[in-house]
Amino acid sequence: MKYHAALPEHNDNVSDGHPLKEFLLLLGAAAGLLIALYLVLGFFVDYAVDYVSPETEVRIFAAAGMLWEPGGGPDTEQQQQSLQTLIDQLAICLDTAYPITLRIAESEQVNAFAVPGGTVVLNSGLLDKVRSENGVAFVLAHELAHFQNRDHLRSLGRSIVLLAMLAVLTGADADLSRVLAPISDYENAQFSQDRESAADATALRALNCHYGHVGGATELFEVIATPDDDFDFALTHYFSSHPEARQRVDDLRQLSESLGFDRANNVELRVP
């Protein structure tokens, strides 16, 4: 036997194929699986939400509203009371089946949100920016619409589903869930955008019912749309759960026209 020195012609120890192609294929498959599962579980969430009556919800989440205990001086208290009256009147227009409690939170952020259990939280930052009562009323009606559509429960349910899914699918691999998380965020944001638009439309009707016109409806979005917010990258748009402010202003104007609502000038702000 003779020793024949030679190098192998082909490296059989490494499979063929481009790693980037493989990566995109696998990521696509994982994302597809995640989205399909999320959609199916989303239906189950919607199904379950219909079985939770407002009374049950209030009982379950009684403690949630307590996180925003009324604070501040007598000024805030007075403001809170007049806004409570306003929201109660709007609730009559919307036929909301909840006892709604309003809380003002000390926060610079221009935001308001619906907390499960019937609490609407309004940040003081929003009250600084939105000057007219009509503008504030639109925001309150928008949150009431979320209660009426049970959106707060749906999004809570979906968040739980997402978290559970990511945890089960990726196991202890925190890095993999970091890759997949943006995809699920995108899905969730798309769902919320539809819900937000629906709540805007309901809020517009409530505003017209209460005041007889829809003046001030777009005030908040006009404030948000001011250019100092535009520094962010364009990509964030797709992940934002609230459709871009300018788009919402346009949508509201179109809807007011098609419904024949009067876009009157704002009445003077009664809340200090």
């Binding site: 499979s15 790693p19 696998l26 994982a30 699918l169 890095d175 993999l176």
Partner: protein, 146 residues
């Protein structure tokens, strides 16, 4: 949002730098293997062919540690999910094995024959969470001088 950008940056860094380094490494491996191909190397316990009196024999070894990049790690994680050939790691261990043998050969340029070649692999950071994994390959053999 920031997290996503960091992630994309890490993936891009891992992919471009990792691919570049891997190509460079393979180029170097191929060139050196051609250079050293004539040094008789077997896994046999006995010398190959008719040889004169052995004047010296030595234990020689070569070892290397190669790390995965972020891109490979993600690719392997996705692979773990679906199953199949983990190509991302195949090139890693292939490079490590060949580099270890090359280093072994380079450590004894005057040897006439290398016998009893053995290769062992161990992973560093095994079981350590959130650590980039590395692989160590150790090649050892007996070099014969005659």
């Amino acid at each position: 949002m920031l997290e996503l950008y960091i992630l994309l940056a890490l993936l891009a860094l891992g992919f471009f730098v990792g691919q570049y380094l891997e190509k460079q490494h393979y180029r170097s491996i191929n060139a050196r293997e051609s250079e050293l191909v004539d040094l008789v190397t077997t896994s046999s316990k006995h010398p190959f062919g008719d040889i004169p009196v052995i004047i010296d024999r030595r234990l020689v070894q070569g070892s290397v540690v190669v790390s995965v990049d972020y891109f490979k790690r993600m690719l392997a994680a996705l692979r773990n999910f679906f199953g199949g050939n983990v190509r991302a790691y195949e090139t890693l261990v292939d490079r490590a094995r060949r580099e270890a043998v090359l280093r072994l050969k380079e450590s004894c340029p005057d040897a006439k024959q290398i016998i009893n070649l053995r290769i062992e692999t161990s992973s560093i950071f095994k079981g350590a969470k959130d650590q980039i994994g590395s692989v160590e390959v150790l090649a050892y053999a007996t070099a014969l001088y005659y």
